[in-house]
């Protein structure tokens, strides 16, 4: 999009505009297409001719596009009836519209990848091309994924919010599993979660927002100039984004004070304890283990137990960590990596090297594989092997 256009501001208007069209009687899929066309038009014409009322402009143009599309449609007669009887709406707060859109786009009938794609387009206002590029698939494939998703939720009424957990899981996926392309999905996930927090007063929404802020704060320090991963303990903490940390901690404290703990708040609490430590050595691992105990209680997740074993290894020593690890299933992802780390801390270097090599084979991304391979190589060469 153009430099002279505030893209985030423009896209922040999308859920409200879409809500107006749906409330006027447009079906969701057609309304969403019309809003996309209006966005394209806005990007083209606003830099030279900025509207006084951007939202009103978008509603007007999107509605016109919807009417054009409806009139040229084969089933135009029936739909024109709907259009004709629909009055021009007065100023209605669009808070509920935004909220319903989040729920619709994360509907449980959608697969995770479909929910992510639909959320980025209908709530986020990204183009199909941008979403396709962000997930490294052809534009035609992404277009099909989005239109299928729209068909899947076609019968879902917009007035029934569901489980907020489904929405949060989709936003978490956007944050955690995108590629690093032209569209910054991390920033986009934060923007969408912030927008959700503005219309939904819920401690877990706040918890997820805090979690995202605290982790994105470390982003500048987590990769070396050559692109290799820098583990938390070795990161240059002066490069962490202190403003994001301060905001994350403040949001988290407010959420925790409501005494309705959930998994995102607990994860954010762990991230906040890391953020608190000026050096890796100052990390309050005892408290981190306590938060992991809470997380285990909340989720029962084996992956959480695995991460807990790492924290136990730091709080009570590597042998305690290995004992915690021994209770877990060795087929867990990253089990070998954790085992390698704990064995190294316990001074069992050749065992550690073996586990690092095994972990490298099982890694699911290249940066992790290369990191683990270097760890194995470091131990193998330093022990003269």
């Amino acid at each position: 999009m153009s430099d002279s256009l505030d893209e985030a501001l423009l896209r922040g208007l999308v859920p409200g505009v879409l809500g107006v069209l749906v409330r006027r009687g447009a079906d969701f899929a057609a309304a969403e297409d019309a809003v996309q066309e209006a966005l394209v038009e806005a990007v083209r014409s606003w830099p030279a001719d900025p509207p006084l009322d951007p939202r009103g402009w978008l509603v007007t143009v999107a509605w016109r596009r919807f009417l054009d599309a409806t009139r040229s449609d084969a089933a135009r007669r029936r739909r024109e009836d709907v259009v004709d009887v629909e009055p021009e709406p007065g100023p209605v707060p669009d808070v509920d519209d935004s909220l319903h859109l989040y729920f619709l786009c994360a509907h449980p009938s959608l697969s995770p990848s479909s929910a992510v794609a639909l959320t980025l387009r209908a709530v986020g206002g990204l183009t199909t091309r941008q979403i396709a590029a962000a997930y490294l698939v052809p534009e035609a494939t992404m277009a099909q994924r989005i239109s299928r998703a729209k068909r899947t939720v076609a019968g879902v009424r917009l007035d029934q919010p569901g489980d907020v957990g489904t929405v949060l899981r989709v936003l978490y996926l956007v944050f955690n599993e995108g590629y690093s392309g032209d569209v910054d999905l991390v920033a986009e996930a934060i923007r969408l979660t912030r927008q959700l927090a503005a219309v939904m007063d819920h401690p877990e929404v706040a918890g997820l927002l805090a979690l995202m802020l605290l982790h994105s704060a470390r982003r500048p320090a987590r990769t070396a100039p050559d692109g290799s991963l820098v583990p938390l303990a070795s990161q240059d903490r002066t490069r962490w984004d202190t403003a994001a940390i301060a905001e994350g901690v403040q949001i988290l404290q407010t959420a925790l004070s409501r005494d309705r703990l959930g998994e995102y708040q607990a994860q954010a609490a762990i991230a906040a304890l890391h953020a608190d430590a000026r050096t890796a050595e100052e990390t309050d691992w005892v408290q981190i283990v306590e938060w992991y105990d809470e997380l285990v209680r909340l989720t029962g997740s084996p992956v959480v137990r695995l991460n807990r074993a790492v924290a136990v290894g730091e709080a009570d020593g590597p042998h305690a960590g290995l004992a915690a690890l021994a209770e877990l299933d060795p087929s867990l992802p990253r089990y070998a990596a954790v085992s390698a780390h704990l064995h190294e801390r316990a001074g069992q270097l050749s065992t550690a090297a073996r586990f690092y090599a095994e972990a490298a084979v099982k890694a699911t991304d290249l940066a992790e594989r290369d990191h683990l391979t270097r760890q194995a190589a470091r131990l193998n060469t330093s022990s003269g092997g």
Partner: protein, 135 residues
């Protein structure tokens, strides 16, 4: 969301159940096989899971660096014993279960006698991006 490579082999894979060389099929069986492959790709495009696919010519060679200022060394065509890739398809799916389901479907492409090939396909995950949250 994960990408997988489905690899089809000319040779080197374990023998298919319906193991008859393609030049021994009837022309109609060849046509039906190609139609199945095209339909499969089209179906994946329609489901929003298709990333890429190409067929590879069997005629190839080995190439390696032979030192500064010297042309690369070539060796080929391939020996008859070499494992030979016939083509690939890359899919973007929600998880390994779906990748296996689709590979199974692709392996059912019709061969001699119009019966499914039951050929062995290699399924390989592509590396993703490192997750931001790993602790």
């Amino acid at each position: 969301m994960a990408k997988y490579l489905l690899l089809k082999h000319y040779r080197g894979a374990p023998a298919a159940v319906n193991d008859v060389r393609m030049d021994q099929w009837t022309p109609e069986e060849v046509t039906a096989h190609i139609q199945y492959m095209n339909d499969f790709a089209a179906k994946l495009e329609e489901s929003g899971e298709y990333v890429d696919g190409q067929a590879l010519a069997p005629d190839g060679m080995w190439v390696r660096f032979d030192g500064e200022g010297r042309p690369p060394v070539t060796d080929g065509p391939f020996a008859e014993t070499k494992d030979l890739i016939a083509g690939y398809m890359i899919i973007d799916v929600d998880g390994p279960e779906r990748a296996i389901e689709l590979a199974g479907e692709l392996s059912a492409a019709p061969g001699a006698g119009g019966k499914p090939l039951h050929e062995w396909l290699e399924v390989r995950p592509l590396y993703g991006e490192p997750p931001l949250i790993s602790e």
